[in-house]
């Protein structure tokens, strides 16, 4: 029996026999995609609004109907006076208020109609988005009015043209599917690998392996190969979920995406090996990967918070994180359908990282174990 095959066989048995590992390997990706998909979304759906409409005429009611039937807004409250605005916002029940003037319908004819859109800017991103959506709907409403009647001359025609490239509907999935991918692959390739190697050290079986005729490189490969295979499987699951459940496109080359995933996994694996050479036991390995790899991947790579709005030092640190470079690659291939002619820089950086960390951890592995 081949030495290496015997070793890999053992590694698979460890994985398949440990329910916790299995859960992390197969439950986590699905859970994260669905969770991020349905919870952490930038899309506006059924945002609660309040309407203060003293005129209550056909036009104002028509406009409110148009707003609420768009699917973006839900009428939470009809206010009767301007004093009610403050409490409605304070209780957090509404995200935006629409304030009509008196005699909306007649004023519309003369072009004196003023409409106030008040957003809850304690959540600035949402507020801006909501106001923009509402603006667009109001503009649409005006155009319809103009077309219906012939009074084009005195209507203030504000046509808000907002067009979002690549993600016209601003679908959250387009952002988080690549993000979850960077996270999951880092989790499985780096964290799980570092834990499984640290486990051998902790239990003392690593000594026995090192005294055996297996070469250190065989031990590392044997420990990591199963996880490499499993993270690849995970990547496939995440991409499929993104496409099937959240309607992500797959505009570019699947083959290129697979190759880039492998590259990213190599970087993650070498980071995992590096951590395991430092950590004495599983707990240390877990904390080191959670704090040193998972947190930055989640927070600094631009997955959840835009990198542009970070202070410069954090942006610089973000550059050292593999996910920062992998994220645009996934987006580029899946959404924009571009290839290496555009993504060569990101790919090169990842390749450099792979070589650097792999070299570092190999040297460490020899010295420390």
């Amino acid at each position: 029996m081949n030495r290496f095959a015997a070793f890999i066989n053992k590694e698979f048995r460890h994985i398949l026999r440990d329910r916790r590992t299995l859960l992390i390997l197969f439950g986590m990706p699905v859970m994260q995609v669905l969770l991020f998909g349905f919870v952490l979304t930038n899309e506006i759906k059924n945002a609660a609004i309040a309407v203060l409409d003293p005129s209550k005429d056909s036009e104002s009611i028509a406009l409110v109907n148009k707003l609420t039937s768009s699917g973006y807004f839900r009428l939470e409250k009809n206010l009767t006076s301007a004093e009610d605005l403050e409490p409605a916002f304070c209780t957090g029940k509404i995200k935006m208020a629409v304030v009509f003037p008196d005699n909306f319908s007649p004023k519309l004819q003369t072009g004196e109609a003023q409409l106030q859109l008040i957003g809850d800017a304690s959540d600035p991103n949402t507020a801006t988005t909501l106001v923009n959506y509402a603006n667009a709907i109001v503009a649409d409403f005006q155009q319809e009015k103009t077309r219906a009647s012939d009074i084009t001359h005195n209507l203030p025609l504000i046509t808000v043209q907002s067009r979002m490239r690549y993600n016209p509907e601003q679908k959250g999935a387009f952002n988080f599917v690549p993000g979850v991918m960077t996270l999951i692959l880092m989790l499985v390739s780096a964290m799980m690998t570092s834990i499984t190697i640290a486990r051998e050290k902790e239990l003392g079986t690593m000594e026995v392996l090192l005294v055996s005729p297996l070469k250190p490189i065989q031990i590392i490969l044997g420990k990591t190969a199963p996880y490499l295979a499993l993270s690849f499987l995970n990547a496939v699951v995440v991409v499929l979920l993104g496409i099937v459940v959240f309607g992500m496109p797959m505009s570019g080359s699947v083959l290129l995406l697979a190759a880039e995933c492998l590259l990213y996994m190599f970087v993650a694996l070498s980071l995992g090996i590096f951590i395991s050479t430092r950590a004495k036991d599983q707990m240390t390995a877990m904390f080191m990967s959670a704090l040193g790899l998972m947190m930055p991947t989640m927070l600094l790579s631009g997955f959840i918070f835009p990198r542009e709005s970070m202070p410069l030092p954090l942006q610089v640190i973000g550059n050292a994180i593999p996910a920062t470079w992998f994220n645009p690659i996934v987006k580029g291939i899946m959404i924009k359908g571009v290839g290496l002619e555009v993504l060569w820089k990101e790919t090169l950086v990842l390749g450099g990282m792979a070589v650097f960390f792999l070299g570092l951890s190999m040297r460490n592995f020899k010295d420390r174990l």
Partner: protein, 241 residues
């Protein structure tokens, strides 16, 4: 008798610290050699050099006829090793552990099968063959670990505190396995904390601060130190009492 291990002025330093200080000794083929010393005396470092895990800073050593510096791979194939920590995988079954180590040492599948049957029979655990090792009592695990270390028929087996944390009865039974292996011509190099176990060895060496301060049969050592038992010898040497 030929020497299966011989070292000459073997030294290993870590920075300024001299862990192993110019030790020269021989282990004869087929003997049970007790390798004693207090914690930090340099035993573990010396063992690591002899098992090919560490290279010496200076001096030389051969194990089973191969140079530790130049031919560690050759040595690794011919030695067995059992550490103080339990060296089998608790989440694998008895049979899977045997198959794994057989595989790592390059045994053929047919060899592994026949050896597994013999081993299970000998340890009388055929019925437990497909149970997880973690579910076995500690004594059985130790015996199994030792038998697995012998699976590839090594010329020499290094046992690094194999009986620490095991009850006296199990220790006694474990030593019977060691005797049996020695009777079959296997050389055993054993480190231990238990001085009564030192008495079971053919010869013992006692390391103090990186040097071998005494090397002889337990009987001769007791005589020359005027001591009742090995414990007294050890205390006189290692702790300077």
């Amino acid at each position: 008798m030929t020497n299966i291990i011989s070292t000459h002025q073997l030294t290993r330093t870590f920075g300024k610290f001299i862990a192993v200080n110019a030790i020269t000794f021989e282990v004869r083929e087929g003997e049970i050699f007790g390798f004693l010393g207090a914690n930090g005396a340099g035993k573990t470092t010396a063992l690591k050099i002899l098992t090919g895990l560490l290279s010496p800073s200076s001096g030389s050593a051969t194990v089973a006829g191969f140079d530790v510096k130049k031919q560690p791979e050759q040595i690794k194939r011919r030695i067995g090793y059992m550490s103080q920590k339990f060296s089998l995988y608790e989440d694998l079954t008895v049979r899977e552990n045997i198959r794994l180590y057989g595989g790592i040492y390059g045994l053929k599948m047919s060899e592994i099968k026949s050896k597994t049957a013999i081993l299970l029979e000998k340890l009388q655990i055929t019925e437990e063959a497909d149970k997880l090792v973690g579910s076995l009592p500690l004594g059985w695990k130790q015996k199994l670990a030792f038998s697995v270390a012998l699976l590839h028929e090594p010329k020499i087996v290094f046992l690094d505190e194999p009986t620490s944390g095991v009850d006296p009865l199990t220790r006694r039974q474990f030593w019977e396995l060691i005797y049996e292996a020695a009777a079959n011509g296997v050389t055993l190099m054993v480190t231990t904390h238990y001085m009564d176990e030192a008495e079971y060895c053919d010869r013992v060496s006692i390391m103090v601060s990186g040097k071998i301060e005494a090397l002889d049969t337990p009987r001769a050592m007791k005589a020359s130190f005027g001591a009742e038992d090995m414990d007294e010898v050890f205390r006189k040497l290692a702790r300077g009492v």
